[in-house]
Symmetry: C2
Subunit: 451 residues, 2 copies
């Protein structure tokens, strides 16, 4: 028996299939490890479903939990989680660029560009350079984050435990995983600027993505030589806009809520209000109790979770660019303009079409998932299940403390949503749908009445 070579896998599967299958494989291996007693605290038992759920949540960088990770897993288990998070967070990008560089030599420029686009690597940089850049960016960010967080955790928990805790939360934040080692996630740090600002800086950087930050720093160094691409402008402005809207809304609505910001001082209210306005865009850490939040804040949070972060980053959701392209097209139509021009550039129909398809398919998946959750768990409140579904699909990980109350069917549905949300429903569908060939060109129709 010979070991199958890399080339074997490359020939046998298309990239979307490899992405879907590699994530499934990582989840299964993670499940087996997290199910093994050597990863558990003494006396703790973990069921197969709990292990599967936790492995999926870590690999898909979601952060929903049916059990308390810190109390259930020993150091070996926590290292397993950390590795799964790091694998899952960088997974798509590195796998993708690997394929791209491997296939590029063999199949010519057109295919290379197609594959590169698939994994959200733009044409301007060579694939190898990008992969190296992503790794360096990840390592440096996580290292700086760890050092900053050690400042808080080492004095409280000693060198060994404190350093690991700092590393774990830094990796979890950068990869937008939202996993914490404390039973209440970050609620005990609700007024701690060091922890909240460090983690939010990490997940915002991770959620912008390496290429965006590269463009920004090149532009800062030499604006004329490296003008910002439209993609970067859209990402930066949409991200800033969503952060402002999210933080302002949550802070204003929850200001006097005794279950969330109410008991905090003014600085704490502003800090945690900002944090819960930013965290829904995939990070998933919480410094307040979402079970006590007001309906209006929960609704805004669900919308932010659906939009998510930026393409080519560790974040989930339909992505900031999709959201921006759709809204700007609506705005152009409202103004009666046949073309959608933003920042002095024209957005072509192809992009609008792709944005519509991504958003519509995501809506189909998330509404389907919420429907199944509602049908299988009628004992739980509507809003809890809707929130859970959006959180799982956006790989966010916030919860109104609903996850442990889900029955078996509910947990399996959430597992499926986290997986689909991480792979992206379009990539998943393309991976496994029968690819049709266009034989005939049909005549165009002029009869349809829309809206």
């Amino acid at each position: 028996m010979t070991r199958p070579s890399r080339r074997f896998w490359m020939d046998r599967f298309r990239p979307p299939q490899l992405i879907a299958l590699s994530f499934a494989a990582a989840i299964l291996i993670g499940t087996l490890i997290l199910e093994s007693p050597f990863t558990h605290e003494p006396g703790v038992r973990v069921t197969l479903l709990q292990a599967l759920f936790t492995a999926t949540s870590a690999t898909c960088v979601t952060g929903l939990n049916v059990l308390d990770p810190g109390g259930t897993f020993n150091r070996a288990g926590e290292w397993t989680l950390l590795l799964l998070i790091q694998l899952g967070g960088l997974g798509l990008l590195t796998f993708g660029t690997l394929f791209a560089s491997l296939r590029g030599q063999r199949v010519g420029v057109e295919e290379r560009l197609r594959v590169a686009q698939q994994v959200n690597v733009t044409e301007f940089a060579s694939v190898t350079r990008v992969v190296r850049g992503i790794f360096a960016f990840t390592l440096v960010s996580e290292l700086v984050g760890t050092l900053l967080l050690m400042w808080r955790f080492v004095p409280a928990e000693g060198w060994g435990k404190g350093t690991f805790s700092a590393l774990f939360h830094s990796v979890s934040a950068f990869n937008n995983a939202g996993f914490g080692l404390y039973p209440d996630n970050l609620i005990s740090f609700a007024q701690d600027p060091l922890v909240l600002l460090t983690t939010s800086a990490l997940f915002i950087l991770g959620g912008l993505g390496y290429l965006v930050l590269l463009s920004l720093s090149l532009y800062a160094a030499a604006p004329r030589r490296h003008p910002l691409a439209l993609n970067t402008r859209i990402i930066v402005w949409t991200t800033l806009g969503l952060i402002a809207v999210g933080a302002a809304t949550v802070t204003a609505l929850e200001w006097n809520n005794p279950g969330t910001l109410g008991p905090l001082g003014t600085a704490g209210k502003l800090l945690s209000g900002y944090y819960q306005g930013v965290s829904p865009r995939t990070a998933g850490f919480n410094s307040v109790d979402y079970g006590a939040m007001l309906p209006g804040s929960l609704f805004v949070t669900m919308l932010l979770m659906f939009v998510g972060g930026s393409p080519g980053s560790t974040a989930g959701g339909i992505k900031t660019t999709t959201f921006y392209v759709l809204l700007s097209s609506v705005w152009a139509s409202v103004r009666g303009q046949a073309e959608n021009n933003v920042f002095g550039r024209r957005i072509e129909f192809d992009y609008v079409l792709r944005a519509s398809v991504v958003a519509a398919l995501s809506l189909v998946v998330v509404t389907g998932g919420v429907f199944l959750l509602l049908v299988t768990n009628p004992q739980l409140p509507f809003v809890n299940l809707a929130f859970e579904g959006f959180s799982a699909f956006g790989t966010v990980g916030l919860s109104m403390n609903t996850t442990p109350q889900l029955n078996v069917a509910g947990q399996l549905i959430v597992i499926a949503l986290m997986y689909l949300g991480r792979i992206g429903p379009l990539t998943f569908a393309i991976a496994f749908a029968q690819q049709g060939r266009l034989g005939v060109r049909y005549p165009a129709d002029k009869s349809i009445l829309i809206g």
Copy 2:
């Protein structure tokens, strides 16, 4: 002072503005009449807000109520409601066709087609013929409906009251208004095939629209001479699909629910299950208590309310064609096809773009409305307010008995949603947005990463 001529209005406002303003005028006049004591039962008082809400709900054929119409208004008030419903139901079409025929002679074919498209009249028929056809279709349907319903109401309530009740419910059903004269709407007829099948036949016919039924009957008479347009095929198949899915889901989920279908016999379960699967697509009658429905059925109902009926009909929502074009484009993309071909015809990008814009703008409006309802009425459950918002925007009128519990701000938000839902958010936006002119043609962008 001379009376302004018709021509004066035509010159001064564009059709979308006239549609928006004429509905506003009808609502204001209706409010004044329904506020006047001569339309009330003896001893009943109606506040200005209640009158405004009821007039809007009737003119926008929604059927949400802050008070019990049958118990509040006397015969004069009920006639007012009936007239507002009939005006609102046919409003867009007849106003639109009027404009089209008036302007047609003056402004040439291109403008005529544009206006005709605006009001959803396709090119194949002359505008005058269509207007006449719509009136005849409406009258005959409502008359037949009245005769059938008299069979039930006259024996129970005598000739005078029974005949009026039959007429009122027939007009309300055909125009997809959902207004009833009984305090529990149609719950007391939950097992009555005559009432439920007659009203549902009326609102399905009204929700298909005259042109679709005309095409179908021409096709039935001479299939070769009058082949079905793609628009008709899409409407018929989508309507059938949504009816089947809605009826099957609600019937299955509610079968044993003691608050809804549970107490009924098997025939009654099937009848009312079917009815509550069909009614959400804009009709808004209810033969069961939505306050007692299970979360899964409520969620499906909300989705059906958002889709609504067909263009060129009395129904609301984003419309069956919009829904179908979006879903078929998703399906084509999933299969990797560059073009979206259905029923042997190609759907052009323009249509997909317009469908995306209509759906996205509708989502923006309905989520904005729900958000405001949640913020202003935190005392009410999340699901009740979400349901109320979707119902108002889709001009459906189903409610989890939430409407009378809304505070003043909540009622004003629902009024705005009903109005925007009836006019259509795109028509409204086009009517009042500053129309930009495209001066420069900007270069196309290739950098955006979607999804």
